[in-house]
């Protein structure tokens, strides 16, 4: 209730009638309506555009910034502050030309992580990894898929080629 609305005070009948008349809708003649609308249509609107455009641009910029932040956050690794650890992958195999490592840590890209052979015939590479669970496998001579005999096999093998799993704990 409004503080000035004191219903216990007597009301003046004349004021009440005047207020009722003022609340009634006013009907204008069609000619008056046409003139008013024509005047409104004739008003220049261009000057309003800079303000509208500025508001629109500000809104888009805000959405862009917010989306960018959300995108960065959602793309961040799950253990963002965790330390990266050097993990060695090794395979003893009589490869003729090359052994490469593919997995969740290098987008399964055969060109990303080649292994190097030592004098004992062991192929190896060290990859910096954050704590987490990664699936991976070796590709020997570009055609043969070999899982890591020193690591557990991946249970979720959806594509028929052997895959291993490594789990790296946080220190």
């Amino acid at each position: 209730m409004h503080p000035d609305d004191r219903s216990d005070e007597p009301r003046d009948p004349f004021i009440e009638r005047l207020a009722a008349r003022l609340r009634e809708p006013v009907s204008l003649s069609p000619e008056v309506e046409r003139v008013v609308l024509d005047r409104l249509r004739a008003r220049p609107t261009q000057r309003r555009w800079p303000a509208v455009a500025a508001a629109l641009a500000a809104g888009i910029a805000a959405a862009f910034a917010a989306g960018l932040l959300v995108g960065r956050w959602s793309a961040a690794p799950p253990v963002g502050a965790a330390s990266v650890r050097p993990i060695e992958f090794a395979l003893r195999t009589p490869a003729d030309s090359a052994v490469v490592l593919v997995g969740d840590f290098n987008d399964w890209n055969p060109a990303a992580t080649p292994l190097h052979r030592d004098s004992d015939g062991v192929w190896s590479v060290t990859v910096p990894l954050r704590p987490g669970r990664y699936r991976y496998t070796f590709i020997v001579d570009g055609t043969r898929w070999r899982r890591d005999p020193a690591a557990p096999p991946a249970l979720e093998d959806d594509f028929g080629a052997p895959t291993s799993v490594i789990t790296i704990a946080q220190r």
Binding site: L56, D104, R133, G160
Partner: protein, 184 residues
């Protein structure tokens, strides 16, 4: 002037992070357009539900690397998405991405949602990623589901740390050198 502003606004909208995030350049380079469209639809679903998208991207890239047919890649990505949904139902909306990934794998290995919830309760600080990953590894290595779960849950109740969980895998028989299965 008005047209320029409208075109500028449309351009900004089309280049917005939401639109850009819907297209992963890694997929564009490795998948055909039909497969990519369906994988990106799955990514959009995951993003909309607040689930991690990277496991889906990696599954699609794994399929591409192994030269799997497009429909098979789409199915595999859909399975990962379904697993992540089940994992979050079991762990709750506050679960971290690495926990969801580990729980999804554990569910596929035979854990039930109630088991996952129990692990959350009994593990020190509620950190379940490594215990669940180790459970999955034990099952994948040939240990029975019940035995593997009992080993992991017992260690969790004793307050074992992540390194202790990882040592549980030493119970598995190591494969002899050179005995790794090979695919042509």
């Amino acid at each position: 002037m008005r047209r320029v502003i409208i075109l500028l606004a449309l351009g900004l909208l089309l280049r917005s992070p939401a639109a850009a995030a819907a297209q992963d350049p890694r997929l564009e380079a490795r998948l055909d357009s039909a497969t990519r469209a369906r994988v990106e639809a799955a990514l959009a679903s995951a993003r909309g539900e607040g689930l991690p998208t990277e496991p889906l991207v990696q599954k699609a890239l794994e399929g591409a690397s192994k030269r799997a047919p497009g429909p098979r890649i789409v199915d595999a990505v859909g399975t990962v998405l379904a697993d992540l949904r089940r994992a979050r139902e079991a762990l709750g909306v506050a679960a971290a991405a690495d926990e969801l990934v580990a729980a999804a794998a554990a569910l596929r290995a035979g854990a039930t949602p109630s088991m996952i919830g129990e692990m959350r309760r009994v593990t020190p600080h509620g950190a379940v990623a490594v215990p669940l990953a180790v459970f999955t590894d034990l099952v994948a290595g040939g240990m029975g589901t019940d035995t593997a779960w009992r080993s992991v849950a017992d260690l969790a109740r004793k307050g074992g740390d992540d390194e202790a969980f990882l040592r549980l895998r030493e119970r598995l028989e190591p494969a002899p050198p050179g005995a790794a299965p090979e695919a042509p």
